[in-house]
């Protein structure tokens, strides 16, 4: 429920890492020959896109963060092949700006306009965004209230009294958690604690006593921490092996982008879309 994470749809939708890996982007792995690593990189690319678009539109961080969660939830059930992230990502931002009641006038026009400015080959129109709104909502089963770890982080930070250095680091870690799938597997307070845990360890502040008094599953905090660290590892790896890796543009080229001119409905290429999804998931 709205103020109680424990009985919220968000809490009920959390999955284990394994479940998530099993259900996400199935067709992409089979039919587009994308590896899990490729898929991760593509998602990261679109997380950045959402952030850039959000900044251009002066949207608050919360709105951007919700959009990222919507996009990740969407692809935990659907695939790039059927639904191009080129359209899904900006539409998620459109939806989150409405959920958070940002006062942008005609947000759909603004979003498609900005997208065209950011990328003049962007193949969609405002109407595509408006159509896509429905399909994302449907896929999300209209569960739109998302809990973010910001609040928890503020509360914990004021309690554990870290100095400025580690505190800033914790904030950065928290922001980077959106580059991972943690928001789909972990309660927000665990993510906040993982950020504090890493920051305090790196800065050599001993918070063991504080953690032990918290009465939380340290195992979960550790698991979240190691996933965050894994993300940094993967960045490092990517930097080193850049020359050997398929460039992101080549990966994106494998995803069929639908030209809105040819099809009346970008989401409807797969005609059984609605039925297939309804019967599959609901």
């Amino acid at each position: 429920m709205a103020a109680n994470f424990w009985v919220s749809s968000h809490q009920k939708q959390l999955k284990t890492k394994e479940e998530l890996e099993r259900t996400s982007n199935l067709r992409d792995k089979l039919e587009l020959q994308l590896t899990s690593e490729d898929i991760r990189r593509i998602k990261m690319h679109f997380v950045t896109e959402i952030q850039n678009l959000g900044k251009k539109l002066f949207l608050r961080q919360r709105v951007i963060a919700s959009a990222i969660v919507y996009m990740r939830r969407f692809y935990s059930k659907c695939s790039f092949k059927d639904h191009s992230p080129l359209l899904i990502a900006p539409t998620c931002l459109y939806i989150s700006s409405k959920v958070e009641e940002c006062s942008i006038q005609s947000p759909a026009y603004k979003i498609s306009g900005e997208m065209k400015k950011l990328d003049n080959t962007w193949p969609y129109t405002t109407n595509d965004v408006l159509m896509c709104e429905f399909y994302i909502l449907e896929c999300l089963q209209f569960f739109l209230i998302v809990y973010h770890p910001y609040r928890s982080l503020i509360d914990y930070l004021s309690d554990c009294k870290l100095s400025k250095g580690p505190m800033d680091m914790a904030w950065n870690l928290l922001n980077d958690s959106y580059c991972t799938e943690l928001s789909l597997t972990c309660s927000p307070y665990i993510i906040a604690l993982a950020a504090i845990y890493i920051a305090s360890t790196v800065c050599e502040v001993d918070l063991r006593g504080w953690f032990s008094e918290l009465n939380v599953e340290m195992r979960e905090v550790m698991a979240a921490s190691s996933e965050l660290l894994e993300y940094y590892e993967s960045i490092k790896r990517m930097e080193k092996e850049r020359a050997l890796m398929t460039p992101i543009s080549a990966l994106l080229a494998r995803i069929p982008a639908k030209s809105s001119q040819n099809t009346s409905h970008p989401m409807h290429n797969n005609t059984s879309y609605g039925q297939q999804r309804i019967s599959g998931r609901f």
Partner: protein
């Protein structure tokens, strides 16, 4: 409206009329089942899932149809939101209502079973349990036909359930913001008979969210139930605005008359609209002052409208005729019963100062609910009495208005 009962009268004709004139094409609906926490199977052919019967409500934001789920023959209500302006997509009202109702699970709050999307029309419909009555019709029937108020048991049970629902919302940081008799539904049959269900979450809001003015697209919502701090220009919606509205509804149940019947609608002159409402409060409760409501001077419209500055308005002219605010003023309201506990609770809900107004937890704990008759889950009759049909005529189909 509630003149005669006509159970199960087919009202297809009206529906077809609506179909033709308003393009409520239910045939191309695409339904998505919304099981609460379990997986549910998908029924083949969504189009055939519900059989529409008639239009039963037209609100500011949508049309409500009575329909039947074919498989179970269960009656449902389908609320179809009005389409927005070109390019706006799904309305914010629809967003608010659905995202909150998706999270809420409470026996006194209406459940959404399904959502149907209409991508071409850029709108959607909520499929809810069907409630045969709403409080505005029940009160109207008591006023015009029975000419007596509901029984003390009914009033208490109804009020208790409303408070129970709003207490749940408030503990979850949700403010309903649009409580009025027509948004309080009552079930007529089956195991849920007499159960009160709060509906219409189109204005409901999680507290932290930013606020929007109450007139969107030029439509002004009813202000008869609006709290004084809002009438005086406060931009802060707190839980206490819901409690004020419940107080107004409580009084209306007791007397069968609306307590502060200002102007119904006036989009042309919002100032007058608002002033008439303020003046109703002054006439019934008396005029508030800084002594009883210390923060009143901080309210934008109180400052500018305080008696000396209220120049030229009807309030200035009649300023001296209004009594000073006093709890006993409320006793003089026509038909106000002489029940001390009921009256005490009512006057605490209608406290001018929102910080002094009773909250839902304390209201539920009030002695009124502890003395006989005790409130029950069926507002029509106490637990243990024999099952009987609900004592009110069924909803009449509505003619679509222009």
């Amino acid at each position: 409206m509630l003149a005669t009962a006509s159970p199960s009268e087919p009202c297809c004709a009206i529906f077809l009329f609506v179909l033709a004139t308003h393009k409520h094409d239910l045939a191309d609906l695409r339904f998505c089942n919304l099981p609460r926490h379990q997986e549910a199977k998908h029924s083949e052919g969504e189009n055939a899932k519900y059989e529409s019967m008639c239009l039963v409500g037209e609100g500011t934001y949508g049309f409500v149809f009575k329909a039947k789920e074919r498989a179970s023959q269960k009656k449902v209500a389908i609320k179809k939101f009005k389409a927005t302006k070109e390019g706006e997509g799904i309305s914010l009202t629809a967003y608010r209502e659905i995202m909150l109702l998706r999270e809420i699970d409470h026996e006194n709050i209406i459940k959404v079973r399904d959502v149907a999307i209409h991508p071409e029309e850029k709108t959607l419909s909520l499929i809810m349990d069907y409630a045969e009555y709403d409080l505005s019709e029940i009160i109207r029937y008591h006023h015009h036909t029975l000419q007596t108020p509901p029984t003390p048991y009914s009033i208490k049970s109804c009020l208790w359930q409303v408070l129970n629902a709003i207490h749940y919302l408030h503990s979850n940081w949700i403010c309903h913001r649009d409580l009025k008799p027509s948004n309080i539904l009552v079930m007529a049959e089956g195991p849920e008979q007499g159960l009160v269900k709060i509906a219409d979450f189109g204005l409901a809001r999680i507290f932290q969210s930013p606020l929007r003015p109450l007139c969107e697209n030029g439509v002004v919502v009813t202000i008869w139930y609006r709290a004084p701090e809002l009438l005086f220009g406060s931009k802060h919606y707190t839980r206490s605005v819901d409690v004020w509205a419940i107080g107004c509804i409580f009084a209306e149940l007791l007397t069968t008359n609306p307590l502060f019947p200002g102007k119904e609608k006036d989009t042309k002159n919002p100032n007058l609209f608002q002033d008439v409402q303020i003046e109703k409060l002054f006439q019934v409760l008396g005029k508030p002052n800084q002594h009883m409501w210390p923060d009143i001077n901080a309210l934008p419209d109180w400052k500018t409208k305080n008696p000396s500055k209220w120049k030229g308005t009807l309030i200035e002219k009649k300023w001296n005729q209004y009594p000073e605010a006093h709890p006993d003023n409320l006793r003089k309201v026509q038909n106000m019963p002489n029940d001390n506990h009921a009256f005490d609770l009512l006057s605490r809900m209608l406290e001018y100062d929102p910080t002094k107004r009773i909250n839902t937890a304390d209201a539920l704990d009030h002695p009124y609910f502890k003395e006989d008759p005790l409130p029950g889950a069926n507002m029509f009759r106490p637990a243990g009495s024999k099952y009987a049909p609900a004592p009110y005529p069924a909803r009449q189909p509505m003619k679509a208005q222009k």
